[in-house]
C-alpha cells in the first residue's frame, strides 16, 4: 500500500507495477504515476496550465 499524494488515501499497487505506469486512486480518482517501485512512490500527473485571456 502506498499513500496517494493527492488525498492521502491508500493506493494498492499491483505487484507487477512498473515505473511510468499509471495507477488510479480509488478514493479521489486521481491518476498517479509510479515514479519508483522499490519502495513504491506515486506522483500526481503534472498539471498542464491552460491559459485564456493573457
Amino acid at each position: 500500500m502506498t499513500v496517494c499524494p493527492e488525498c492521502q488515501g491508500q493506493v494498492s499497487l499491483p505487484d507487477t507495477a512498473m515505473a511510468a505506469e499509471i495507477v488510479v486512486c480509488e478514493d479521489c480518482s486521481s491518476e498517479l504515476e509510479v515514479v519508483a517501485v522499490d519502495p513504491p512512490v506515486l506522483a500526481l500527473a503534472p498539471e498542464v496550465e491552460e491559459d485564456w485571456g493573457e
Binding site: 478514493d27 479521489c28 498542464v48
Partner: protein
Amino acid sequence: MRVSVVGARGYVGGELVRLVLGHPELELVQATSRSCAGRPLGAVHPNLHHHSGVRFTAPEQLEPADAVLAAVPAGELAGVHQRLTSAARVVVDLSPDSRDPRTAPEPGYTLGMPELNRAALSGATRISVPGCMATAAVLALRPLVSAGLVDGEALVDARTGSSGAGTAPTTATHHPERQNALRVYRAAGHRHADEIARICGVRTRMTVTAVPLVRGVQAVVHARPPRPVSRAEVWDAYRACYAEEPFIRLVARRAGPHRLPDPQFLTGSNFADLGFDVDEDGARIVSVAALDNLMKGAAGGAVQSLNAASGIAERAGLEFPGLHAG
C-alpha cells in the same frame, strides 16, 4: 406505486412525467395542466411525443393515486394543496412554498434531500424538495462546515441556466437578450442564502449570475478555513459526508480540460458532481458543485426522495449518467 404529476406542463413537471414513465416501480396516473387539458403530452414536451397515452388533465380532475408530485410556481401551492392531500397519501412538493414556514400550507414537511436526512425521509408523507441553487450550494458547503473548515461566512457564487426561470416568456428570457448573457441578476443578497445558511449552519453571502445555458446550476463556494488546510484534509471532509452517496461524485482532476464539476455533463442526470481546490497558502477553499437544475435540483431530487420515502431502491429510475458532447 401510482403517481400523478401536478404542474406537468412546466419544465420541472415535464421531467417528473418523463421520470415516472421510465421508472420501474412507478406508474403515471395523471399529468395536470390548466391550460393544456385534453392535449397530448407531446404537444408541450416534444421529447414525450408518442411516449405514453396519458393526456393532460385539468387539476380539478385529480383522481386518487398513491403519491402526487407537485411542481406549481411559487405562491400557488396553497391553492391546490387541499386537492393534493385528498388525492394521495404522499405529497412531494417542488415549489418554494412548503420550504418556508410562512408559506407552507401545513407544518411537517420533511426536507427532500436524502444526503442530509435519509432517515427522516423514510416513511415521510409530506416532502419538500429544496431549490436547485440551494441544493448545489448545500452539497458543496456542508462537508466543509461539518469538518470545521469554515471560519466566519461563506461566499456562494451561483451560476444558472435559463430553464430555472420556468416556461413563462419574459423580456429577461427572450432569446436575443439571453443567448449571450452574463447577467449578474442578484449581486448582493438572495433569499436562497438564508435557506443555505439555515441548512448548513453558517452565514452565507450570495451572488447569482445567469449564464448562456439552458440547463445547469454551478455553485462555487469560497470559504476561509480557521487555519491553513491541505487538499488531503478537504478530501477527507468530502469523503466523510459522501463516500456512500449514490448520486454524489467527487471530481477534481489535475489534468485535461475537464477538472472540476461542470453541469454540461449532467444534463438529464440526477448526479451532482462536487470538487474543490485550495489556494497555495491553504487559506481559501474553493468548492464547486454542478447539477442539472431540473433533475437533481428538482424532479430527480423529488423522485430520489420519493424512492427513499417509499422503500424503493434510491437509484431506481434515475440511472441516466448524462452525456459527453451533449
